[in-house]
Symmetry: C2
Subunit: 355 residues, 2 copies
Amino acid sequence: MATENLNLVPFVSVENMMDLVLETGIDHSLAELAQYIEEDFLRWENFDKTPRVASHSAEGVIELMPTSDGRLYGFKYVNGHPKNTRSGRQTVTAFGVLAEVESGYPLLLSEMTILTALRTAATSAVAARYLARPDSTTMALIGNGAQSEFQARAFKALLGIDTLRLYDLDPSATERCRRNLSGLGLDIMACGSPEEAVEGADIITTATADKQCATILTDNMVGPGVHINAVGGDCPGKTELHRDILLRSDIFVEYPPQTRIEGEIQQLAVDHPVTELWRVMSGELEGRRSEAQITLFDSVGFATEDFSALRYVRDKLAGSRHFIELDLLADPDEPRDLYGMLLRRQVVLDHQHTA
Amino acid sequence: MATENLNLVPFVSVENMMDLVLETGIDHSLAELAQYIEEDFLRWENFDKTPRVASHSAEGVIELMPTSDGRLYGFKYVNGHPKNTRSGRQTVTAFGVLAEVESGYPLLLSEMTILTALRTAATSAVAARYLARPDSTTMALIGNGAQSEFQARAFKALLGIDTLRLYDLDPSATERCRRNLSGLGLDIMACGSPEEAVEGADIITTATADKQCATILTDNMVGPGVHINAVGGDCPGKTELHRDILLRSDIFVEYPPQTRIEGEIQQLAVDHPVTELWRVMSGELEGRRSEAQITLFDSVGFATEDFSALRYVRDKLAGSRHFIELDLLADPDEPRDLYGMLLRRQVVLDHQHTA
């Protein structure tokens, strides 16, 4: 038994995650990750789904997001604390675990701050492939925080977006986003207002971070044919779009019970019609039906997407050196003899002491 | 910012947990842990409590157990897979995280297989101090698996139990338990039946592991004045005591909404009267009222106990070398510049490559 090293669980640190992604290439990582996400959306009914378990405080929220496909189990720990940037901390940090359902043993522990940024962007791009006009080339990107460059990269890699129109309340955020995205062949405009940013945009991505209801987009800003990718509104009391836009849009969501609590549609009646994204992917329901239709992906981030991301990282680790092994699980020589393991450790320590 | 090492989270491996416990001494660790558990029971109303989030499968269960006191947040991942021993694995393994509510940042990642064994035993002993007869010296220990020696140690350390009467369906488990507990000054009897084990016992501890309803104790086996410490029945469909015993006992529980689903009292009506342990500890309600009363601690294990255990470990780490630091959290120089961190890592890698 001991030779199997049942106690060890692979751990992917932040640095190893960066190295894994950079070795693969950011565009290629996003494309591969999108494939895992799409695969899991296409077997949506296999998943044990539950709204995330949230612990709210005045400063923010800590959430656990579990799901399982019956063979693998995954969960993510994620926080959301808008004031964290004041102390040099991230608004959102995350880590997660993938485990084997048959034994309950963890298979992987991974940082998920970077991984969540990648999977959120990849999910947005996957949704847009079904919902945006196929000839889309220009994206407005409103909110130029930590998620913005990942969205830009994913839409470039997966949809061929070549023009970005950036806006943030904080011009230095826009400038940083523009600088970070330079040299990729993107045509980038820094805009002075949300109104200017949406001019001529085929896709509008909103990714602002305040924990409050804001109206980033008003009704008159959204013309026919636009696809709105609403990423920032993702908890109770936090929305980005004016309600009138929602009433003119066909709304697509990940998991309705969670989105009705956390998404833009918390502004609507609980029975307002929405379409589950997986049903569009499977071909059961239509996504975009016309040139003029306004489509809205009311994205809040769902546990299956993190599951897909963990599954992706685990597969990437095969043959990779970008992880270490943690002595996370007790592995006594005889399974029922946990206490005996402690006694045997005492013998080792006594020996070290006298040696 | 970088000098604060905001990315690093202390990690206590299985080996480090053993060394921490052995350095402190097992008895002393149990006593200290009991104090933390009792402290948190005494401020029960401060905690955000919720039944654990369970993912059941044919083979077992994976659970997440979160709680918070408004200042700290903790959760435990724990599995329960009875068939695991066939492949040399533990029935129960666990790990957990303590985090700061204000920032959502994890403060500690720890193995919790050993820690759960310790906290379960410490909780049982804390409860027994309020519920068992003060002159108790003899404990029957039915089910001699991984939890059994920890129970014995805790009852010896915290209540002065000096005589053990062991029984297990598997005589080799009893023999191992007896051998592991030798040399501690305990008077230990290996018994051939549960009936023999309970003879003259002041306290009966049941800690069997099968995931099914079993009747370890029948009604005629429980005499007046006994305290029953029922540890093994801890999920839906898994009980250890005959229903008639429950009807004759005063029943004490951790968190009624969870115990009614998972504990022995799942056999009773949903409004059967039970007493919350914390109300006894606080002096609001009586524990043992008479010599003849039968008391039952229907223990299922609650999230606050894991929270107490994580809080204890975190305090023990101050000035200790029994941990390593994990690069778990992304810590960009500028908090909103997560993508920029990836770009800067690319520069480092390019440099390493050409160097």
